[in-house]
């Protein structure tokens, strides 16, 4: 087997693609959502019987050697080694300390070569040689000197190498599976949505995007994507429990309760690729998984005032597109986390990009509300008209929100006043609000075409 692998290495590059076949190897690659992959390398190994060392050079360059396991019928594992002492000129010289090397002096004037045997005494900062009875520093005079080594030390390798020492019960070729975890492989979803402004419909295509920065290429691999991560180490740190840290705008408005026909693993979804594929190093690969047309979508505006404060200049409202992922009048699928890019046709019918939004893992039947950017023509200015202190921790704030609309049609802006911590009450308001949560009040303000609208509210806040 070892000789076999080496032979493959020397094949001309044109036949490189064949190495997989020659090794009679099946790779299956399972990629989790956050930079982790499980590689199962099924191949035949030639067991000679007795103790034997097998080298695997074509594993991921970022292999986590502690996760390696080799399984085959009727073998025992003696030890597994991961050697990362790399063959470099400096290492080669270092390992030659105390040994003989050949030096070839080249006379720059005549071009004549003089060969000498030398013993390497040390390589600290410079190479000290013993030639006959003389001690010299290699190339101290700057003249050309070639150094020739007669062999590569055993433990120096061109790339990190995994080796497994086994004891085979009976001799013969048998299938074996080498499995390990490696970082450097990842995937996410990318969505392309085309919004039709005329009839408020959206076409959505979903792609899984695989990235490989593991330093290795996986030829002809059976690929499975898992929409989740088995790693729980950082899960606590990611919990949004910090009250005052501004949270990113939530995209899922109502979490869905429907199930699709997708394959599941525990509580996560699986996305197997239909065909085998080769994942080259540094390649970005996309495979389609969703294509839905004509889903009803809503276009709206949203403005969030993060605390009871003023702005010196009017701020743009956010442009919002909302649609369902349900089976009825929706995408009819759960969506793995990724980026959704929205396009719209311009007056000449060419699709133009109008913004993008990140989406989280979204169950089927959810309502998604995505902010794509700032509306040029719809703006809101929040103004603190008056703020009075009623007590040590009690304030009365008169807020006014000036909404303007430079579009030739009326728009409705969902205006959210956040930061209502503690006991915050609205004692007066020009339009009825809804309290989305204790901390957020919400109004739906209609602004006439090319016009303005004002909203005022008085807050009584106690901390």
């Amino acid at each position: 087997m070892r000789a076999h692998l080496l032979a493959i290495g020397w094949l001309p590059w044109l036949l490189a693609g064949a190495s997989v076949c020659a090794a009679d190897r099946i790779l299956s690659v399972t990629i989790y959502a956050d930079d982790l992959a499980l590689i199962a390398d099924h191949r035949d190994i030639d067991v000679k019987g007795g103790r034997q060392r097998i080298e695997f050079q074509d594993v991921s360059a970022q292999i986590r050697p502690e996760t390696v396991s080799l399984t085959a019928a009727d073998i025992g594992i003696v030890e597994q080694n991961f050697d990362f002492d790399l063959l470099t000129p400096a290492k080669l010289m270092e390992k030659a300390v105390g040994r003989e090397i050949t030096i070839v002096r080249v006379n720059p004037a005549s071009g004549a070569e003089t060969r000498e045997q030398a013993e390497v005494l040390a390589t600290n900062g410079g190479v000290v040689l013993k030639i006959g009875q003389r001690i010299e520093v290699l190339r101290d005079d700057g003249l050309p000197v070639r150094v020739i080594f007669d062999k590569v030390p055993d433990n120096l390798r061109a790339r990190p190498t995994l080796s497994v020492t086994i004891t085979g019960g009976r001799a013969g070729t048998r299938p074996a599976t080498l499995s390990y975890l490696t970082p450097g492989l990842g995937w996410r979803a990318d969505y392309v949505a085309l919004f039709d402004e005329g009839d408020n419909k959206i076409d959505v295509q979903g792609w899984v995007t695989l990235t490989n920065s593991s330093g290795s290429t996986y030829e002809n691999a059976q690929t499975l994507l898992v929409a989740g991560s088995p790693s729980q180490v950082d899960a606590v740190a990611r919990q949004p429990n910090m009250r005052y840290v501004q949270q990113p705008r939530p995209t899922v408005q109502a979490a869905g309760t429907e199930s699709g026909s997708r394959e599941r693993l525990g509580d996560t979804y699986l996305y197997p690729l239909a065909e085998r594929t080769s994942i080259a190093n540094l390649q970005t690969k996309q495979v389609s998984f969703l294509d839905v047309r004509g889903v009803p979508a809503e276009h709206g505006y949203e403005f969030r005032n993060h605390w009871l404060g003023s702005a010196d200049s009017p701020q743009s409202a956010k442009t919002i597109y909302a649609f369902s992922t349900g089976a009825h009048a929706g995408l009819g699928d759960q969506l793995p986390a990724g980026v959704l890019r929205i396009y719209m046709r311009d007056k000449r019918g060419n699709p133009q990009f109008i913004g993008e939004s990140r989406i989280e893992h979204t169950p089927m039947g959810s309502t998604l509300s995505l902010a794509t950017g700032d509306a040029f023509d719809v703006k809101v200015r929040a103004v603190v008209d008056k703020r009075t202190r009623l007590g040590p921790f009690e304030w009365k704030t008169d807020m006014r929100y000036e909404l303007s609309n430079a579009l030739p049609k009326a728009v409705t802006v969902k205006l959210l006043q956040e930061g209502l911590w503690g006991d915050a009450r609205i004692t007066a308001e020009s339009q009825k609000s809804a309290r989305r949560s204790a901390e957020v009040a919400e109004w739906a303000v209609t602004v006439p075409a090319n016009g303005r609208a004002d909203l005022s509210a008085t807050f009584d806040t106690r901390y």
Partner: protein
């Protein structure tokens, strides 16, 4: 083993060429783009002001129409010459027959280090020049390792390291590996029959940006200004877009994909050696050959194609004949279309006229922005001009954010007075352009006194209240009367209880408006009450 690997059956020398790419299938290149469209978006992170040609943080949507001829069966269709800033995940290919298997962007580019890496473990030819004769010796050998920047090879003589001997050494490779010079996008497509199709490839690419660049020219009497503007768009990519339909989009769009797909742009062959300490102090003679460095950094050269950035606007008559961008609504954004096809070359900035409006009525105002209880503060006032973006003021069109250069007439010459920026302005918004600080108008604020009211018995928790008497003096050294606005920042819970000038409010903030005669100063007094807490 059974049909695990169907391509094994085809493994003959004749078909080896097909196997050049690992997934197999015929290699097909799409024709060069027959129609190009580029829509430039401004950097979402840049404030107002002009673009920075060395740091183009915006992006563009590029659509290319290309003709392709696909054979029956599986083929790999390559799109060459896409912009180097391509975001591969955003690529959309339309117009293909059904059966698109996957889209790929190869990340390894052809470079000296990539050549070496692909040759590791294979046979190469070593080139070594003889220092006397100058002849190049060709030694066949095998490349053993290229780890850690050092190169070790084996020839019939033994094992040596590259460029450690002081002789001129290099390798000659049998082929250029399977790598392309520029990022190449490819799709694996399965077609039932040979087809000729016109496909459109659209993708987002980084390394673009655009801004509006305004030039305002004040009239001699200071009552009106002429406003002209350019759309300045720049391409920092190494790929040009010839004869393209060009658009820009105004407004801020959301961008979330901060990550860049990894790309191996390669580098020089470093050929690191063993330590080469010397017994003398003279610097080492060994020089690594860095001239091979092919760093594919997006570095925008200053290749400004048309006029200088601050283009003179006195040629207003000529500008009236120049082509202008056409504006249309795109969702909640504004799209500006360059009316004729144009070439957006690699590393180029380009300008097209946005607007020209003459005799816009303006007001020149001096102002200062102070904390209401500031003490011992003396600052120059800021001069700005103000108008409304509406038809009555000869404007009334969306004004995309950008830089503004304000010019004034001086003895028949146009001189630059100040440069600043404007944000995105919708119709009917107030337009304010800063003209910078004016040392002629000085604002001095001082506390005249502070009185603490005693704690009221029975209201112990309320604490004391503090009344501050404030004096603000504004002096005008100019030969003409000025309009002055003092905007105050009042602390939470404080209010202005009395003043000797009428107090107004603007945007929720107290403001005093004063007219100050030529060579005169004005005194303003008010009291601020901080209610006890």
């Amino acid at each position: 083993m059974r049909p695990r690997c169907p391509t094994c059956l085809l493994l003959t020398a004749a078909i080896a060429a097909f196997m050049a790419t690992s997934a197999g299938g015929a290699e097909v290149s799409a024709d060069a783009a027959s129609d190009l469209s580029v829509t430039v978006y401004r950097s979402p992170y840049r404030g107002s002001g002009s673009i920075d040609i060395d740091r183009l943080g915006g992006f563009a949507l590029i659509s290319e129409t290309r003709a392709v001829r696909l054979p029956a069966g599986l083929s790999r269709l390559r799109f060459e010459g896409v912009a180097d800033g391509i975001e591969p995940a955003s690529a959309i290919v339309t117009g293909l027959p059904d059966g698109l298997v996957e889209k790929n962007r190869e990340g390894a580019l052809l470079s000296p280090s990539a050549l070496l890496a692909s040759a590791a473990g294979r046979s190469v030819t070593l080139l070594r020049s003889n220092p006397k004769s100058g002849k190049t010796e060709r030694v066949p050998g095998k490349l053993l390792a290229d780890a850690g920047g050092g190169v070790v090879y084996e020839t019939a003589v033994g094992i040596e390291a590259l460029r450690c001997s002081g002789l001129k050494e290099s390798f000659s490779f049998d082929s250029a590996a399977d790598l392309s010079a520029t990022p190449t996008l490819s799709v694996l497509v399965r077609s039932r029959e040979p087809v000729t199709a016109t496909v459109t490839l659209s993708y987002l690419a980084r390394g673009f940006d655009w801004a509006a660049d305004y030039t305002a020219t004040l009239s001699a009497d200071g009552a009106t200004m002429d406003l002209g503007a350019w759309v300045t768009l720049a391409n920092g990519n190494g790929v040009g877009l010839p004869n393209a339909r060009a658009q820009t989009v105004a407004g801020r769009v959301n961008r979330v994909s901060g990550e860049v797909e990894p790309l191996d742009i390669g580098g020089p062959i470093l050929a690191q050696c063993w330590p080469r300490g010397s017994t003398s102090d003279s610097p080492g003679l060994l020089q690594f050959d860095r001239s091979l460095a092919g760093g594919g950094q997006l570095k925008a050269g200053r290749n400004i194609a048309t006029l200088a950035l601050a283009a003179p606007a006195q040629m207003t008559d000529m500008m009236l004949e120049a082509q202008r961008v056409e504006q249309e609504q795109l969702g909640d954004l504004k799209l500006y279309r360059v009316p004729e096809r144009t070439t957006v070359a690699a590393r180029q900035s380009k300008q097209v006229r946005l607007l020209d409006r003459a005799a816009i009525p303006i007001k020149v105002v001096y102002g200062a922005d102070l904390a209401a209880d500031a003490d011992a503060l003396s600052i120059p006032a800021v001069k700005f001009l103000r108008t409304m973006n509406d038809a009555a003021h000869r404007l009334g069109l969306p004004l995309p954010s950008g830089g503004v250069a304000v010019y004034v007439e001086h003895r028949g010459e146009r001189l630059l007075e100040h440069e600043s920026g404007v944000r995105d302005l919708a119709v009917d918004e107030e337009l304010e352009i800063s003209l910078g600080a004016s040392s002629d108008v000085a604002v001095t604020a001082a506390r005249e006194g502070a009185v603490t009211e005693p704690v009221t018995p029975g209201k112990a928790a309320r604490g004391a209240q503090l009344d501050v008497s404030e004096r603000v003096e504004i002096s005008n050294a100019r030969a003409s009367p000025i309009q002055f606005e003092l905007r105050l920042r009042v602390a939470e819970g404080a209010r202005i209880v009395s003043a000797d000038h009428p107090l107004e409010r603007k945007n929720g903030r107290p403001i005093f408006r004063l007219a100050i005669p030529a060579h005169a100063s004005a005194m303003l007094r008010y009291q601020v009450r901080h209610s006890g807490g």
